[in-house]
């Protein structure tokens, strides 16, 4: 009996997940269509870009700066233990940050900061019937609300990833110099970076930038009940978009490795 109910619950969860995936795909298409139709308030894209950047630039600087220092310390210690040759530390660091850490950690921070904001904002509009009022005026909420946030997130995810690379690379170089006495000219060396790394990092940043607003917007639009509903929407937006980031990271890295050999020469 108990097992029966558990299987039922599992099946229900599975169907729920399928439905959500279908809804997410619909929302994604709707955002793209909304960008083509340009059915959003004037200057909204610029405003949203400002909001995304302003909310997260300090946050990303702190996290990426410290992450850069930690990575250099950890790998420096290991290299010292095994080979003692630190000459490859900087070039490998840069490659790894461009295609893995900078886009992914930046996106995780965006999911926390911006995703939560989008879900809270749209969720509030949902529970106060503003979404209904929009639809009554002949507006599709997706094109009016999600599309500009979608575009802003995609662009800012890329911009902030570049910023994150620069910031963490500088922090890492300073650490290598002050802790291991590594010559900065040896560290700041971009010769190992290939087109593959730039493409993979860029693709990751763009895909994360699409996933975060779509998932968070979906959570907001699904909000029900008063302020408690908004709270639930916010938390599920954070966890949903964070998880999506990790999943996308895994898929894209896997595809890159399987089809392009991970950029190895």
């Amino acid at each position: 009996m108990n097992l029966h109910r558990k299987i039922e619950a599992l099946g229900g969860a599975f169907i729920g997940a399928l439905k959500s995936v279908r809804e997410l795909a619909r929302l994604w298409r709707g955002s793209l269509a909304g960008l083509v139709e340009r059915d959003y308030p004037k200057g909204e894209i610029a405003r949203q870009m400002y909001v995304v950047g302003n909310k997260s630039v300090l946050f990303i600087s702190v996290t990426m700066g410290f992450l850069g220092m930690v990575m250099v310390m950890q790998s420096g210690q290991q290299l010292n233990r095994i080979t003692g040759d630190l000459s490859q530390l900087g070039p490998e660091f840069l490659r790894l940050f461009i295609q893995e850490f900078a886009p992914t950690i930046t996106a995780l921070m965006l999911a926390t900061r911006v995703g939560a904001g989008i879900a809270a904002e749209i969720g509030t509009m949902k529970v106060t019937e503003q979404i209904d009022a929009l639809r009554l005026s002949g507006i599709t909420p997706t094109s009016y609300l999600i599309a500009p946030r979608f575009f802003a997130c995609v662009v800012m995810s890329l911009v902030l990833t570049i910023f994150a690379v620069v910031f963490s690379f500088s922090a890492g170089g300073l650490t290598a110099w002050s802790v291991f006495g590594l010559n900065p000219t040896l560290f700041f060396d971009a010769s190992r970076v290939q087109v593959y790394d730039l493409t993979l990092g860029g693709c990751k940043a763009l895909t994360y930038g699409m996933a975060i607003p779509v998932i968070s917007g979906y959570c907001g639009l699904e909000a029900r009940g008063g302020s408690e509903g908004v709270g639930t929407a916010t938390t599920s937006a954070v966890i949903g978009s964070s998880f999506a980031v990790l999943l996308i990271d895994f898929l894209l890295s896997g595809i890159g490795f399987a089809f392009f050999g991970g950029g190895a020469r």
Binding site: L58, L67, A116, A120, T124, T234, F250, G254, G256
Partner: protein, 258 residues
């Protein structure tokens, strides 16, 4: 004009950050005092442990599984480049145990459990339930905060241990499927190069991260002022503070721990 706004903004932000930091420190002090001698609500602790573990286990397990996969893919490049199959187990294990495992699992835990905890406490605060407890001569810190802090710390330690295992086996699975490596190669590469110290390094980090997530999550929950709108803001602030403290503490712990 813009410059002036920026400077004022930075100034105000710094002031706010110090104020929050002070608040968190005071709350931490109160929690520590409540722990000596340990007086708290045992059933509440167990209830929280069960709830938090239950709530976060699936997402943490999935996260760990993918993290293992990502690490192996990254290590796979080394294999192709240097033909160094013997390094995959070591590289993936070292990164998972010490850095990536605790940090990513902590970030996910903060998003799932920390944010939920803040929302719950904040709702209780704005609906004056904390004052209600005080009126019944119950200390809300001992009754609500202490069990949650303990539960979150214990929970994250257990989840990171479990996550490490899942990530390693998930990674091994991908390494066998994608990189065509033998299980034995991975196993010995890990066992020969990674010691208990690396594992404990990560577990200590997990404990500290858990406490930090718990403190910021509880602090923003009980210190919320104003109406229901502020609950959302409190949640957001708590998650951001938790993320920053995780990265900062990770830096210092890496530096301090062997």
């Amino acid at each position: 004009m813009i410059g002036e706004g920026l400077i004022t903004g930075i100034g105000r932000g710094t002031m706010a950050a110090w104020r929050e930091l002070g608040g968190i420190t005071v709350l931490t002090g109160q929690v520590l005092r409540a722990l000596v001698p340990p007086t708290m609500d045992r059933p509440e602790l167990l209830r929280n442990l069960y709830r938090m573990g239950n709530r976060s286990l699936p997402i943490i397990a999935l996260t760990a599984f993918f993290v293992g996969g990502i690490m192996v893919v990254q290590a796979g490049v080394l294999v192709r480049q240097l033909n160094a199959a013997g390094l995959v187990g070591w590289g993936a294990g070292y990164a998972i145990f010490r850095e990536v495992g605790p940090m990513l699992i902590a970030l996910m835990f903060s998003g799932r459990v920390g944010s939920n905890n803040t929302a719950e406490l904040a709702t209780m605060t704005v609906t004056e339930q904390l004052d209600g407890l005080r009126a019944l001569a119950i200390d809300p810190i001992r009754y609500l905060v202490v069990p949650r802090v303990l539960a979150m710390t214990i929970c994250l330690i257990c989840l990171v241990i479990l996550g490490d295992i899942i990530a390693l086996y998930g990674g091994a699975l991908f390494a066998m499927l994608v990189l065509d490596l033998e299980y034995a190669t991975l196993h010995y590469s890990l066992v020969d190069n990674i010691g208990w110290l690396d594992f404990i390094h990560g577990v200590v980090k997990a404990g500290v991260f858990g406490a930090a997530i718990a403190m910021s999550s509880c602090y923003f929950g009980v210190s919320v002022r104003g109406g229901a709108v502020c609950v959302g803001k409190a949640v957001n602030a708590a998650v951001v503070a938790a993320a920053i403290s995780i990265v900062l503490l990770d830096f210092f712990l890496t530096y301090l721990l062997p």
